[in-house]
């Protein structure tokens, strides 16, 4: 009855001050733990024996299965012969293949760029209140509980003799020793029985004693969780928040700081090509210093981002930051792979004049095309440029004349930009937008092409890229960058009123969705070079990236199309009634809404691409998976040791995929503002 009264009062309060802050749900003590467990796990409280039997049965079965699986995983992770050294020693190999040591600074520069951008972005995002203490306490309980449970569940360690060899005993507990042939016998040289022999393990008490460190961590987490839970009380638990990003930064900081005081061990390759083990030592300085610098960069950039977010011009800064994120893959790819040996004569004789030509004449053409009152002539001119672009491709295909790829692409881009010109007709400022956009775009494009075409002084073991996780990350990144616009264009084409576009897009999408990705990868690595005109040749990495882009675009197109179908007809009618052109309607009304609706499938596709890069291992690229599956187990010291490597890369894949999924959830929430 009192509940009823209080809710009525709340309702009144809300009605009276709808614009004021929302009323807080009143303090409502949660169920005591035993009652909670009974109700949720064992079906009590419904007054039915059947419910109790059913609930208890299901809980016992599934909890038992979960515990068994947990125990098996822990037993493997902590077993003496799991072979984690193969991962520890090969960390660098797994992530960057044998990237030359003397150039390693470049890899760190790359990580640094990402750290700075990430810090700025984190600083500039508008975040919610963060994690409530209730959530943190729950989190501490879960992890503390899992750790304590793990400590109790894990089988006791095997006992070793003074030489570090495992001790064995028969089923009666009588110990066995190794003879000169390395087979197990009794002390008096009697042969051992063929069954009932197992490794000798410490007793339960000793095992628990050995895990003192884990006990402390687990119990400490539980204790802190309990303290937060019981000291604060329900209302304050729910309404006191810890900001999420500083909390995450503190976590990362703690992890990085361990390299200075926790003895992770020092494992490294030696000059002679062997390995050097140093358990119980601090990690190498060459690991510790860079990571510390990265962390400092991250924090400084975060604080800088916080300041910038308050600046008056934060809008343009945000746009600049997005542009930096877009350019980062190209920049870092270049930074890692190119020690440019500039051919200045070529730059002066060819590259600069071409840039001046396209930036200058192209800009002038666009300026002309946006002149008010130009009418149909503008469209005709744009089509003429496009036709010229098409002609250069056809000409190159049949070998009529030779022409730089860069020139052909530039003409094509100019033609496409010219098509946009009618939307920018107007006063000088409006026209300038298009011209400036064009000059900026063509400058970046020419710069990138020139830089990429410059010979490099860096030699990587794979023909054109470092391997390991770096390949995974770059193929995934470039796939997303290129397949996204392509997918959007395909979706537009498929929903277009022009039958030619519609048919072509439909054929493309259905064809690529109907072929397994691995088949496409083989096709592109083996056959595509045969179809290319004589002068062109695709490297392995370029070929597989193109395959990924084309494949992923087909799926993205379907996702975007799904989003477009969710838009109501009234939106189109309102746009038409206002006199928006088709391009304006698509760009301002249809796509923004369609993309928002399709965020979950788009992120799903991105995660899929990230994971599917592991197929590269099959077509001969030294990616993350191949390193763990083939390269490490081929080392003489770790012959055949696959399990720890595979477990490790699974963890890395999981962290990447999970982070993306979390980010998409946040994005959905953020863009939910103003949802119908």
């Amino acid at each position: 009855m009192s509940d009823l009264l209080s809710s009525e009062i709340d309702l009144e309060k809300v009605l009276a001050g709808a614009d004021e802050e929302l009323a807080v749900r009143p303090d409502e003590p949660s169920l005591p733990p035993l009652e909670w467990a009974g109700k949720n796990l064992f079906g009590t409280g419904q007054g039915s024996i059947g419910a109790i039997v059913r609930g208890t049965f299901l809980t016992v079965i599934f909890a038992g299965l979960a515990l068994l699986a947990y125990r098996a995983v822990l037993n493997f992770i902590f077993s003496e012969n799991a072979g984690w050294d193969s991962v520890r020693i090969n960390l660098r190999l797994l992530f960057t293949q044998a990237y030359p040591d003397e150039n390693y600074t470049r890899v760190w520069v790359t990580v640094g760029v990402v750290a700075v951008l990430a810090g700025l972005s984190l600083g500039m995002t508008k975040v919610g209140p963060g994690f409530s203490f209730k959530r943190i306490a729950t989190w501490l309980f879960s992890w503390g509980g899992l750790i304590v449970l793990g400590v109790l569940l894990r089988e006791p360690s095997v006992l070793t003799d003074s030489n570090g060899e495992t001790r064995f005993a028969d089923s009666r507990g009588v110990e066995l020793v190794r003879d000169t042939n390395n087979s197990l016998v009794y002390q008096n040289n009697d042969p051992a029985p063929s069954t009932g022999i197992s490794a000798l393990r410490e007793n339960f008490g000793a095992a628990m004693g050995d895990r003192l460190g884990w006990w402390i961590i687990g119990l400490a987490l539980l204790a802190i969780g309990a303290a937060i839970w019981f000291v604060l009380g329900d209302l304050r638990r729910r309404t006191t928040f810890v900001p999420a990003i500083p909390l995450a930064l503190a976590g990362i900081g703690l992890l990085v700081s361990t390299t200075w005081w926790y003895r992770w061990g020092h494992y490294t390759f030696t000059e002679e090509g062997g390995f050097e083990y140093g358990p119980g030592e601090l990690v190498a300085t060459s690991t510790r210093i860079p990571w510390t610098i990265m962390f400092v960069l991250l924090v400084v950039a975060y604080l800088g981002g916080r300041l910038l977010a308050r600046a008056t011009a934060s809008g343009p800064i945000r746009i600049g930051l997005s542009a930096a994120w877009l350019l980062a893959p190209f920049f870092t790819y270049y930074a890692i792979l190119r020690g440019p040996i500039m051919d200045w004569a070529h730059v002066v004789s060819t590259d600069l004049p071409l840039w001046v030509l396209f930036a200058g004449l192209g800009g002038a053409l666009l300026w002309l095309l946006t002149r008010p009152g130009l009418g149909e002539i503008g469209r005709i001119l744009a089509v003429v440029v496009l036709a010229a672009a098409a002609f250069t491709w056809v000409g190159a295909f049949f070998g009529w004349f030779s022409m730089l790829q860069k020139v052909r692409l530039s003409v094509l881009f100019l033609g496409l930009t010219a098509l946009l010109a009618p939307n920018f007709i107007g006063e000088a400022r409006q026209r300038m937008k298009l011209v400036v956009g064009w000059v900026g775009f063509i400058t970046i494009f020419h710069l990138l092409v020139t830089l990429i075409n410059t010979a490099s002084s860096i030699e990587t073991p794979s023909e054109d890229f470092a391997g390991g996780f770096m390949v995974t990350i770059y193929v995934a990144l470039f796939t997303m960058l290129f397949s996204f616009p392509l997918g959007v264009l395909l979706a537009l084409a498929r929903t277009s009123r022009m039958p030619l576009f519609r048919v072509m897009a439909t054929v493309y999408i259905e064809a690529f969705r109907g072929v397994p990705l691995i088949t496409m990868l083989f096709f592109f690595t083996v056959f595509v070079n045969i179809f290319l005109p004589g002068s062109m040749e695709l490297s392995l990495m370029a070929a597989v990236t193109i395959a990924f882009v084309l494949f992923s675009a087909a799926y993205l197109a379907e996702n975007v199309r799904g989003g477009m179908q969710a838009i109501r007809r009234g939106q189109y009618e309102a746009s038409d009634a206002l006199g928006l052109t088709t391009v304006q309607r698509t760009g301002f009304i249809v796509l923004p809404q369609a993309l928002r609706v399709s965020i979950p499938p788009l992120v799903g596709q991105t995660i899929a691409t990230f994971k599917e890069t592991s197929l590269l291992a099959i077509v001969g690229v030294f990616d993350f998976l191949r390193m763990a599956r083939d390269v490490v187990p081929a080392q003489t010291e770790f012959l055949g040791t696959r399990k720890p490597g595979l477990l490790f890369i699974s963890a890395v894949y999981f962290i990447g995929a999970y982070a993306m999924s979390k980010y998409s959830q946040r994005l959905e929430k953020k863009l939910g503002v103003g949802e119908r």
Partner: protein
């Protein structure tokens, strides 16, 4: 029904004004179903015409033909002297002069109220952003919700959304406003605020064509009422004549059902 019949009901003064909308024998089919059967009427400058009729009578279809949201198959539609044909330049010209307000508002949910209003002036009329925003705020002031400029449409009530939709149409500075059942999707307590805005608009001399079921509004504001049924114009006349002394049996039946 012919044009001459329709215009006899209009005063001398009205007859001397310019024709804004001329609909001459307009036919429209959906498949085998004929939605409009030779609809003929002329709407003068600064005139407010209310189109009444039972649902399915073709009144919405007719009004949507006038800015080419639907395409008529036969007959002629002239808007401010420009004939609607397949020529896209004519369609663009007419759409930029005709504002439309829909039953379901059709605001763009992903941009703010102010952006909803300024989008078309900036991109279609090529107005500088600052000028467009000033115009947008002035229009929000005019429809009575200046404080909602930076909210998203989903945060507004139905009546407020419809007023934003009116402001959005007015931002294009149209010569004609079409209203397609603007209050039908509204809760009763919100209808008045929208009708008030429309009345103010009518008093300001806007040429208006309104499809509605609001008899009070029709009686108070309309210069002329056009009654449609089964895709035809049944009766045309000033409100006092229409509501008190209708000539056609079908009109009488309709009025007896709703009044």
């Amino acid at each position: 029904m012919s044009i001459s019949d329709a215009t006899t009901a209009v005063s001398e003064e009205m007859a001397s004004r310019a024709d804004m909308i001329v609909s001459d024998g307009v036919d429209k089919w959906y498949g085998d179903f004929q939605a409009l059967k030779g609809v003929t009427a002329t709407i003068k400058e600064r005139e407010v015409v209310v189109v009444l009729g039972p649902s399915g009578s073709g009144k919405s279809t007719w009004i949507r033909c006038i800015n080419r949201l639907e395409q008529h198959q036969d007959g002629r539609i002239m808007v401010d002297g420009v004939e609607l044909t397949n020529d896209t330049r004519n369609i663009e010209k007419i759409r930029s002069e005709v504002g439309m307000v829909f039953q379901s508002f059709n605001l763009f949910p992903h941009i703010t109220v102010l952006d909803n209003i300024t989008l078309a002036p900036i991109w279609v009329r090529k107005k500088p952003r600052g000028e467009a925003e000033q115009l947008g705020r002035d229009l929000l002031e005019r429809v009575g919700i200046p404080e909602q400029a930076d909210k998203f449409p989903g945060q507004l009530s139905g009546g407020q959304q419809q007023r934003v939709a009116i402001a959005r149409a007015l931002a294009m500075e149209p010569r004609i406003m079409l209203f397609d059942e603007p209050t039908s999707a509204l809760d009763p307590e919100m209808i008045k605020e929208v009708l008030d805005v429309m009345k103010e608009l009518a008093r300001s001399g806007m040429t208006m064509m309104v499809v509605t079921h609001e008899m009070g509004f029709a009686r108070e504001v309309a210069d002329r009422i056009i009654f449609m049924e089964s895709g035809e114009i049944v009766e045309v006349g000033p409100p006092e004549h229409f509501f008190t002394n209708p000539t056609e049996d079908r009109t009488k039946l309709f009025l007896s059902q709703i009044l």
